[in-house]
Symmetry: C2
Subunit: 204 residues, 2 copies
Amino acid sequence: MLPPQKKSSGAEIEELIALLAKLPGLGPRSARRAALHLIKKREQLLLPLARALGVAADKIAICKECGNIDTQQPCAICADAGRDASTICVVEEVGDLWALERAAIVRSRYHVLGGTLSPLDGRGPDDLFLVKLMERARQPGVNEIILALNATVEGQSTAHYIAAELEGLPLKVTRLARGVPIGGELDYLDEGTLAAAIKLRQPI
Amino acid sequence: MLPPQKKSSGAEIEELIALLAKLPGLGPRSARRAALHLIKKREQLLLPLARALGVAADKIAICKECGNIDTQQPCAICADAGRDASTICVVEEVGDLWALERAAIVRSRYHVLGGTLSPLDGRGPDDLFLVKLMERARQPGVNEIILALNATVEGQSTAHYIAAELEGLPLKVTRLARGVPIGGELDYLDEGTLAAAIKLRQPI
């Protein structure tokens, strides 16, 4: 009888593929391609990536002030004296902060909640970075909180919860404008967006 | 005058994103998502992946016998006494070897060329792992070479080149059955097609 056929690639390679497959955007097949690509580009890619991950693991931490991730504590944004400290822009995730920074429109500080309230998934106020937000909102000099949360049901119910919590503080609480996205074509937009754009129409 | 706006994420995070974006299947946007995912899942994903890449860099090498990649030298397939040593299955890339191993149809040894001949791209015979293949093909006991190259123009012209080189040796030279769709690449085919193509291999 023949012995059972051995695996073609070592356990170490399988392990690497399995880990790569856990990255968002990569499935089992693309993870195999990525692993092969890494092994082939040992000097240019594999070693630098291993190093970069090691550095990330060692150095990157969550900012105790705002929930952003950075290699310094507090993060570069909280530490930047050139930022407008009177406004706090509240976002769900670090990815949202990055998106706003790419737009280079927010000159204030941020606060990263780390998600949204979701009773169905068992995520309550204690699971978000909310206590710190309340503390920051009470600091003298803060006069506006922008709730830049996603325009989803969960994002908006979280925004309403936070707005209610902030009530009574001498603050302006705002949210992102609703409407047609720049470059958007009416024919491709959903009814909700169109309804909001009509309802909130602005003088030209 | 305001100082220039600082980057929101540290240079280390940007570096990690840039490296991830070089992986096949990930673009700049998905690389950002992947980096964020890694940083969030420090213990479950970031550290294990950094370790796995380190292990891969340390241990994985190209088999001097067949061009496969493995953590042992010679690779597990070359070292496997249960494998049929009379046949050598020639493939372009390690990914093709993996695809054939997943189909579990090849019980022989392999030979990984590391690409195809491509005069337009300046890849000649010396750029492939061909000298070793000729040496292996001359070893006593070897009686068949399966040219399991992609059914692309380059794969097939490479197959013809190798078949010409092998002429005169007491060998059967075969190629995959025409069950592989024209233009198809092994790594993308289903196991059934691969199995049929191996089973119905034809003299060249």
